[in-house]
């Protein structure tokens, strides 16, 4: 099981309290009516699906209830950082890696 650091609760907690909510930093277009069909498809469906560091949303559903972002390596499943929803995507730092060390049960 993943252990996930909630940036609001400031605690590392079991995955069972959390829900994954898809790729992060995909803003809903401010005026959808002006989007072309292709642009709207990109918003709805196109995802980076990276093999590596993936910026993604999680929700601490059975906890503080907040959505937050995480940078996680999709090969090792290791969390590099978790951060509040409005913050920009961080670059993985050694310190961040240490504080978000993830354990496999």
């Amino acid at each position: 099981m993943l252990l996930i650091h909630c940036p609001y609760c400031k605690e590392k907690l079991p995955e069972l309290e959390f829900e994954y909510a898809g790729q992060a930093h995909i803003a809903r277009p401010l005026n959808p009516a002006e989007q072309s069909d292709a642009e709207w498809r990109d918003y709805l469906f196109i995802r980076s699906n990276v093999r590596g560091d993936h910026a993604e949303q999680w929700r601490h559903t059975h906890g503080c209830g907040r959505y937050f972002n995480a940078l996680r390596n999709t090969v090792s499943d290791k969390f590099i950082a978790t951060y509040e929803i409005e913050q920009p995507r961080p670059t993985g730092s050694e310190e961040g890696e240490k504080s978000n060390e993830q354990l496999e049960s």
């Binding site: 009516a33 069909d37 709207w40 929700r59 959505y67 409005e86």
Partner: protein, 473 residues
């Protein structure tokens, strides 16, 4: 399995240790390779003429030791296998002989058979008695969400297809929720308690999904809105009274509001007390009859139910379950999301274009409704069906073809979504999603079943009281 088999595998071209494992099943017995893997590897390496470390090992997989399924299941067996949610009124239903059905995590009273009745007889009676006098239904499992804050109406405008700004406090409205892909996700009656407070209802199965979807939009897209969401599904027990005598049963218990149509018209709501309990009282109908839904704090649900039940005896009131609810609403053409719609149905397909706020610049799913495929005229559309033989009740899920088409593979036009014996009309009724259905009004189609084909006429979906007079009693 012998060493010879491993050598043979290598000669057959199984050069990867993973191929050797799969070809010979070496390491797949109960020891999971703890005895055999190193030996097997050494034999394969010799045959390959490569040192063992270059050949490599197969991936070791948990568990370390064979472990019984029961150990993994743990406490999750029998009644603890999965949560069974029951309403406060469920115990009464059980004591009074209800048959139950599971609906998402809930169990709901399906029908209340009297001695000697099967499901058909019980449902026919429940329908008859409700339309003739009054019936009572436990609607507590409906999801409920309290939407509160100065931006509540704006938030509702963005989430639901309908307009909310001009809905006056003390009134309610049918709400339709789409996914961002434009397909119907949920629906329910939504009441405006005060300027900044909405009482949202959702389908039973949709409650958690809808709240999650709302939170997701609110927190990640519109954090600037001053509005907050709270699940109140279990705060309230909800009792629905439907039928011409519904007001008479309810009236003696209501304090703080006048129940007359003038003071309390259809689609109104009031905060008052019912049976001495603080209540949110809705005048709404999912049956086409004069109808009320009483919400009281859930711990009092059973007490109020019993009071109303006693009072109802004066009017030969029946209690009914989900099956009768389904029949009565189908007679009126009210849809059930998830039965008459699936995840491929737009508001226009379901005949719900009227529920879309025409002047709203945007709401969740709006942009998707103008994608090319959404504008085709031959999309599957929700229509009514009347069988040529009125005694034939079509099977739900039955497929529909052009009249006279007997080919296999057949060109299927759609399927029957809801189908019942209508006691009120003395014949069967059905709803169906059919290609270009709206344009087929009055035309016939075929429903081929094994050994027999039923012919039916395409109609509108409102079978009973088309002018909606009974709601305004």
């Amino acid at each position: 399995m012998t060493a010879k088999d491993i050598r043979l595998a290598v000669r057959e071209g199984m050069l990867s240790i993973e191929h050797v494992k799969r070809f010979t099943t070496n390491g797949m017995a109960t020891d999971q390779g703890k005895m055999s893997n190193m030996n097997g590897l050494k034999i394969a390496a010799d045959e390959l003429g490569r040192p063992a470390p270059k050949v490599g090992l197969t991936t070791f997989r948990p568990p370390y030791t064979p472990t019984t399924f029961g150990t993994f299941a743990g406490y999750h067996k029998d009644e603890l296998f999965e949560v069974t949610r029951k309403t406060k009124i469920d115990s009464w239903a059980e004591e009074n002989g209800a048959v139950f059905e599971p609906v998402s995590l809930w169990r709901r009273a399906w029908y209340y058979p009297k001695a000697g009745e099967d499901i058909h007889a019980a449902v026919a009676r429940e329908c008859r008695e409700t339309r003739a006098s009054v019936g009572m239904f436990d609607a507590s499992t409906l999801g409920k969400i309290e939407v509160v804050g100065p931006d509540a109406a704006e938030f509702m405008n963005r989430m639901y297809t309908n307009p909310w700004s001009k809905l006056a406090p003390g009134r309610c409205r049918y709400g339709l929720l789409l996914g961002e892909d434009g397909f119907i996700r949920d629906d329910g009656v939504i009441g405006r308690i005060s300027q900044d407070r909405f009482h949202v209802t959702t389908t039973t199965g949709g409650a958690a999904r809808v709240l999650t979807m709302m939170e997701h939009f609110l927190q990640t897209e519109w954090p600037d809105l001053d509005v907050w969401l709270t699940s109140t599904t279990e705060q309230w027990s909800t009792i629905a009274l439907n039928g011409p005598n519904a007001r008479k049963v309810l009236e003696p218990f209501v304090k703080g509001t006048d129940l007359s149509t003038e003071a309390f018209p259809h689609m109104a709501l009031r905060e008052c007390t019912v049976g001495g309990f603080e209540a949110r009282l809705f005048r709404v109908s999912f049956t086409g009859e004069l109808g009320f839904e009483v919400n009281v704090p859930s711990e009092h649900g059973r007490a109020l139910w019993e009071m109303l039940y006693q009072e109802g005896k004066k009017y030969d009131m029946c209690v009914y379950g989900t099956e009768t609810m389904h029949v009565l609403r189908a007679e009126k053409g009210y849809i059930i999301v998830g039965q008459d719609t699936d995840g491929t149905v737009t508001p226009a397909d379901a005949g719900l274009t009227w529920a879309i706020g025409k002047k709203k610049p945007d709401f969740v799913g709006k942009r998707s409704l103008t994608r090319p495929d959404m504008l085709l005229s031959n999309r599957k559309q929700l229509v009514g069906l009347l069988t040529e033989d009125p005694s034939v009740v079509l099977e739900e899920g039955a497929q529909i073809v052009e009249s006279g088409d007997t080919s296999i593979p057949a060109k299927m036009l759609g399927h029957v979504t809801s189908s019942y014996w209508s006691e009120s009309l003395g014949r069967s009724i059905a709803m169906a999603l059919i290609e270009g259905g709206f344009e087929r009004d009055g035309k016939s189609i075929d429903v081929p079943m094994p050994g027999q084909t039923h012919r039916a006429t395409v109609t509108g979906t409102v079978f009973y009281d088309p002018d909606g007079e009974r709601i305004n009693l």
